[in-house]
């Protein structure tokens, strides 16, 4: 067990600056209007740094810097860009604990997750896209004996990216890595709940990149996000967030006729067929853990397995064992490596989760575990902690249909395969899903029949670079984590070349 020192105290892995400005053109730039806002750590509910409250004027400065940098960066060779991405990855790896503690303090999540998942995955994503861009070939076709079509990948130019708060560094990297690999310059706006950890990352890696290739402007959505998303100076906008803002961003993109990739959440079913319980062996233990993964990252994951579907014959026994297991979740100081569940990211997030617990109860769902705010006492008493919560109910309840984005699980039963698929697909979302069965045929068919972009079969919540990630239905458009993402940041240039000396003969 290790308890990391609070940032800024003796022995801490990270000391935050008292004030963070915008990162524009390779240097810190004060916001034009001179305004700042407080960044609050969810761990204690107290402010710990001031952050630039950027506006349209700052977005323009960042776009200026990006447009200045884009032509040269776009002409670098894939070899050079890959070397830059690999250097970034090495620096992240060399500073895992520092970044992990910064991320935990900004977001509230348990440090064992940031150390073992968020930060190593961030480094690996840079390495993956360093490899992917070097391995990417253009295309050609000999259309007839004298005519050849060549297709080249070209960067889009300057792109905008808006980042969510649930994995502030990793979600930024999911978007930065493919965009940089493809040769674009970027203006990135972090979430206003978690504006600082990305800037700590930029302090670390900023000098590796040519000035202006990555620019970070903080601020509120209306004041900084909208001017970025609606700007006619970007060639693409990428967004992870919720459906209404996603639609708004797509509307802005349509006004500028630019592409947009949006990842908009989910209400992911986690299906357990009866055969998982035919033995109480290692696989059963794994499946039980798979059920309890609803509490991973305090439930603040777009793909959180927030609907558990249990086949009727094992409903009582499997749920009973799982509730017992969920009761053992260690909730505590997020800086303690033994802590399994930390704080929700913000006060309004906490309030929203509690409001869903309330409607769940009113709808007649049966509470099997938790259901209240958790007071962890001491310095943590004002932090944003919620008990792991399990409800039993049915799929038409709002509890089963809305993304609560907290450690709240809705459990129901199903009779047979068709019933399972029907319930699983009865949702407006289609981001993630889980299927658990010892029967490979059943698991495969279920995986194909569920309308979701990512179906985990006999596992959950793994996000390795290389496995394409993105939504069906109202969960969004586009794929990340895979070389497919390069295509979201590239133009296709076709050179159609005639090697014939002979005229067409039309005129």
């Amino acid at each position: 067990m290790t308890v990391y020192a609070v940032p800024g105290t003796p022995g801490s892995k990270v000391t935050f600056k008292s004030r963070y400005e915008n990162w524009i053109g390779g240097e810190w730039v004060a916001p034009v209007k001179g305004q700042y806002f407080e960044d609050i750590t969810p761990v204690t509910g107290k402010p710990f740094a001031e952050v630039a409250r950027g506006t349209a004027e700052d977005i323009e400065l960042a776009l200026n810097a990006a447009h200045k940098a884009a032509p040269a960066w776009g002409k670098t060779s894939p070899t050079e860009r890959a070397a830059v991405l690999n250097k970034i990855a090495d620096l992240i790896d060399a500073n895992t604990e520092m970044l992990a503690v910064a991320e935990t303090w900004d977001n509230g999540k348990a440090v064992r997750e940031t150390i073992n998942a968020d930060i190593p995955l961030a480094a690996d994503h840079f390495r993956y896209f360093a490899s992917a861009i070097r391995a990417q070939d253009g295309d050609h076709a000999q259309l007839d004996g004298d005519t050849v079509s060549y297709q080249f990948h070209e960067p889009l130019g300057v792109v905008g990216q808006i980042i969510p708060w649930n994995f502030p560094i990793l979600m930024a990297v999911w978007k930065l890595a493919p965009a940089l690999a493809a040769g674009n310059a970027i203006v990135l706006k972090p979430a206003e709940q978690t504006p600082v950890s990305i800037l700590v990352l930029m302090e670390l890696i900023g000098d590796i990149l040519p000035p202006g290739v990555v620019n970070v402007v903080n601020g509120f959505g209306l004041e900084a996000g909208k001017p970025l998303a609606s700007s006619n100076r970007i060639r693409k906008i990428a967004f992870t967030g919720e459906t209404t803002t996603g639609r708004l961003i797509l509307q802005y993109a349509s006004a500028n006729i630019i592409p947009s990739t949006v990842e908009l959440g989910g209400k992911s079913p986690n299906i357990f067929f009866s055969d998982v319980a035919q033995e109480k062996d290692a696989f059963y233990d794994k499946a039980q853990e798979g059920f309890v993964l609803f509490a991973f990252n305090q439930g603040e994951v777009c793909t959180a397995p927030s609907r558990a579907l249990l086949q009727k014959p094992i409903y009582d026994s499997f749920l009973g064992d799982a509730v017992t297991r969920a009761k053992k979740i260690i909730q505590g100081n997020p800086l303690d490596t033994d802590t399994q569940m930390g704080a929700q990211a913000s006060n309004d997030q906490l309030e929203k989760i509690l409001s869903y617990i309330d409607i769940g109860t009113k709808e007649g769902a049966k509470l099997a575990l938790g259901g209240e705010r958790a007071d962890l006492g001491g310095d943590l008493t004002d932090g944003y902690y919620v008990q792991p919560t399990i409800f039993e109910g049915h799929n038409k309840m709002r509890l089963f249909q809305e993304e609560i984005f907290g450690p709240v699980l809705a459990v129901t039963s199903f009779t047979d395969y068709d019933d399972a698929i029907s319930i699983a697909n009865d949702t407006i979302y289609g981001l993630g899903a889980g299927v658990w069965s010892r029967n490979g045929n059943v698991a495969y068919r279920a995986g194909r029949d569920i309308q979701a972009g990512r179906v985990w079969v006999n596992n959950y919540h793994a996000y390795p670079a290389g496995a394409a990630f993105g939504g069906y239905k109202s969960s969004g458009i586009g794929r990340e984590n895979n070389k497919l993402a390069l295509g979201h940041y590239q133009q296709t240039k076709n050179l159609l070349v005639s090697y014939s000396e002979n005229k067409l003969g039309f005129f």
Binding site: W165, G241, E263, K312, E351, E392
Partner: protein, 162 residues
């Protein structure tokens, strides 16, 4: 004079009961934001980080379509003042799952993201929900007979399988 609760007018064809209301603190905040920004609209969001929250935009900023339902219209104007209409919208597909609940727009401290207009004030709109007595709370669970909306009072507790 203390700020009243404001209940939205009925805007869905064939319905007679209101679906949305504003708490007094929400009314005060909306009046203040109206002064700052002019006419406003709500669109209820689903999903992900800052989702499942009502998003407040300048009126017309968010383009609604046949894929949206207007749940009601508020008039923010104080008694005797010129009308200040504010529509509350939701996507039609989301409304399929929300239609049995009455929504109260409240305000809590916090920092929303998205492009909602109140975020710079350090507060966030929040939905509180009640079951509507005039709506059937749920489409029938699997195996049961289909129940038409508005056909009957809701059961005291929804059936819980298993």
């Amino acid at each position: 004079m203390s700020t009243p609760t404001i209940t939205a007018s009925v805007t869905i064809a064939g319905e007679t009961a209101p679906r949305v209301e504003l708490t007094p603190v929400a009314v005060d905040l909306l009046r203040s934001l109206w002064e700052e920004h002019g006419p406003l609209m709500f669109h209820q969001s689903g999903g992900c980080c800052d989702g499942s929250s009502p998003m407040l935009f300048m009126a017309g900023e968010f383009i609604t379509s046949d894929q949206d339902v207007r749940l009601g219209q508020f008039d923010l104007a104080p008694a005797g003042g010129a009308a200040q209409p504010l529509d509350f919208w939701m996507s039609a597909e989301q409304f399929n799952y929300w239609s049995h609940t009455f929504l109260t727009v409240d305000v809590v401290p916090g920092r929303g993201s998205g492009f909602s207009a109140e975020a710079p004030r350090g507060v966030r709109f929040l939905i509180r929900s009640e079951l509507m007595t005039t709506m059937t709370p749920f489409a029938a669970p699997a195996g049961a007979d289909t129940v038409e909306a508005e056909a009957a009072a809701p059961p005291a507790a929804a059936p819980v399988p298993a």
